[in-house]
Symmetry: C2
Subunit: 420 residues, 2 copies
């Protein structure tokens, strides 16, 4: 791996422009900004269009070539060097009450990397590209990471166009309405390598007092909906031994999930986040409970074994409590493992710049997990205050934001000089 | 206890008129009748007024003196014999999707007792009265058993008038509107004794294949709302050991409640019927769970000990799971114990008529529990198919309905001849 290319002639280290990065983050945060802080730029709304227009204008200011593809992904490329580009990027759509950093930070740090190179006269060996992927949040159109999924060929553009949003709108219609139904085909250009800079959206770096996460991959996700049907009865007149109580069965399953996570340890997480009880009255033994299980692990075989344990427990529970239990898969993604060479590079660059580093999986989904299907891929995490994200109070210290962008600069330039 | 009074001169047993009883039950069931069966006569609606008018007309046909009191309770009295009346009665309001028997059966069996005596020339030693108590269900105006509570002096009429219903109406206004704001004061006449005939609304008689329940009292009820506050977090990025998960704490509490009921055994029942999770999303560790606990026992000291166990468990749980738990009482009624002499009488009369009998507490609330504050009181239960009640499919076999009415006849006549 050669790394001399990005050291300017005079030998000093190049840093990005802190003020310019922060100014762009704040300016984009004002588009769809919420009164008390945070912002709302649901995918393909007017606010998303205004955000896109702003960032595209900045790309054009940097003489980048801007391509809009058939699902509205924007790829801005600085045409320099030769061959396939080194790409970074993320998304600028937000959840309804989102923060200023989730996604936006990675995109704007990409622009900052390019502007820094341009003003310092650094000429990377390969083009540098910044991608803005459509509808990463999935908060308006399911599934999440829709734009990057189409970019890598995991979903047909026509299928994506026909997705109906939570507001009844058709994704293709909204793309056209806001002027971002482009002509560039999907699957898109295969990058030389892809690296995404993102806030952690979890508490680990903060808790461990570590500055940078070298992301090793993305947890596999198994979502299922469990419907438990028992028998509705009067809470006063029905003796305990005659009950078929789905609320009790749901509680047993929730406790089992925690025990399972504790037993599997490591990166295993299990969550019961949604519980709907029918008829949901104080004095009525419920007739039905519908609940969700969110089970994640970085190891596919452990994830499968967890799923098998849950299935077995549900069967036994149904017999013991005389209830009917039906499980329905809601989503299933295998774990994604990032390219060791990119992960190593992120780690060494971060250390070179004097940061403490932790290799860690991502618990959340990111566009990088889709790009990993196309090319060597990695991610850089910076700490999130209190682990908060998808929240108007989402916050990362400026020093960490700047530090992450500097690491992105070094990593992209090194990747441009690396032959995989 | 003397019982000769009601045996007619020729010495044969007197029975009520099956056909007439069933005809009245069906006729009343048509008032507010629902298309698929069952009926909807929420308290003080037009349908309730029509039901009242029908039953009052029947009372007048029997030359009963009809008194309407200040909360709309109707007491029809057959002025015979001397002294305080032997009273029966129940309610004719229903829940929104109610059955034909809950309440109505007891009132109409009362009329049938009086008509039978009148046509057979039986002259009880005391007046016989039939009460129709306002808003027993509490489905429109809280609390339930409101009319009988006011009748016995447990609530001021003015307080009752100011109760606002689920539809925003004021009880006093609706009473006046339907023409049932009467002049008879409350508390009402103190009966010599009170006995209420009712469907079980639970499964025990059916499961035990017993025909008649001699009701020993009404379970004490302790309702509380438990609010558990944790910390909302990303289900993927938050390691198990850093969570403050109120859904898990709620599950532990639900399992504890079951264990508590099993340990206390006997008549102890515990129910978690209502669970509301916030924000209730698959991939978010909840911030808050609000749930209800319904705990009942016939023994006040055991009920208090159950409450203390729950309080202690919640304190330990809050510490162990690092959540905040706030408990709020929603309702608390001490157990009601019926008069042994009345319970014994019900049991012996039922056996004399060839029925299997079970002494049992009532798990549901009934007007009789209010009247028990005024005079010797008891109840007669007949089986409910599948324990169903508050349901359009509520059903009791005609043979059981007739059997219960015959027992009511004998019990009322014996009570009229009994000096307490």
């Amino acid at each position: 791996m050669r790394s001399a290319e990005f050291v300017p002639p005079h030998g000093t280290r190049v840093d990005i422009n802190d003020r310019r990065l922060m100014k762009r983050i704040m300016a984009l945060g004002e588009v769809g900004g919420l009164p008390g802080g945070g912002c709302n730029r649901l995918a393909l709304t007017d606010a998303d269009r205004d955000g896109r227009n702003l960032v595209v204008a900045w790309m054009r200011d940097l003489n980048m070539n801007v391509a809009i593809d058939v699902v509205g992904n924007i790829v801005g490329t600085w045409q320099v060097g030769t061959g396939a580009p080194v790409m970074t990027g993320s998304h600028i759509d937000t959840v309804r009450t989102g923060g200023l950093y989730d996604g936006n930070y990675g995109v704007l740090a990409g622009l900052e990397v390019i502007e820094t190179c341009q003003e310092r006269g650094i000429e990377p060996r390969r083009p540098l590209a910044v991608g803005i992927f459509t509808d990463e949040e999935g908060a308006r159109y399911a599934p999440d990471m829709l734009g990057s999924l189409v970019y890598v060929g995991g979903m047909l553009p026509e299928t994506a166009h026909d997705v109906i949003g939570i507001d009844g709108t058709r994704l293709g219609d909204e793309l056209e309405r806001i002027g971002y139904l482009g002509a560039t085909p999907c699957p898109g250009v295969v990058p030389h390598a892809f690296v995404e800079l993102h806030i952690e959206q979890g508490p680990l770096l903060e808790v461990n007092q570590v500055r940078i996460g070298a992301v090793t991959g993305v947890q596999g996700i198994s979502w299922q909906e469990v419907t438990i049907e028992g028998q509705s009865n009067h809470a006063g007149t029905t003796p305990m031994h005659l009950r078929k109580d789905p609320a009790f069965a749901a509680a047993k399953l929730t406790v089992f999930l925690r025990d399972l996570a504790t037993r599997l340890a490591g990166n295993q997480v299990c969550t019961v986040g949604k519980i709907d009880v029918h008829p949901n009255l104080t004095n009525v033994v419920p007739s039905k409970v519908v609940m969700t299980l969110d089970v994640r692990n970085t190891d596919e075989s452990i994830l499968q074994s967890a799923e098998a344990d849950i299935a077995r427990f549900c069967e036994e529970l149904a017999v013991a409590e005389r209830v009917r239990i039906v499980r329905r898969p809601l989503a299933r993604f295998e774990p994604v493992i990032f390219d060791d060479r990119v992960v190593d590079l992120v780690e060494s660059v971060a250390r070179d710049r004097g940061n403490s580093v932790q290799r860690m999986p991502s618990g959340a989904g990111h566009d990088a997990q889709m790009l990993a299907r196309l090319c060597p891929t990695g991610m850089i995490f910076v700490p999130s205050h209190g682990g908060l994200s998808h929240n108007v109070n989402e916050h990362t210290d400026e020093a960490d934001l700047v530090s992450g962008a500097n690491i992105l600069l070094d990593v992209m330039l090194r990747l441009a000089g690396t032959n995989f």
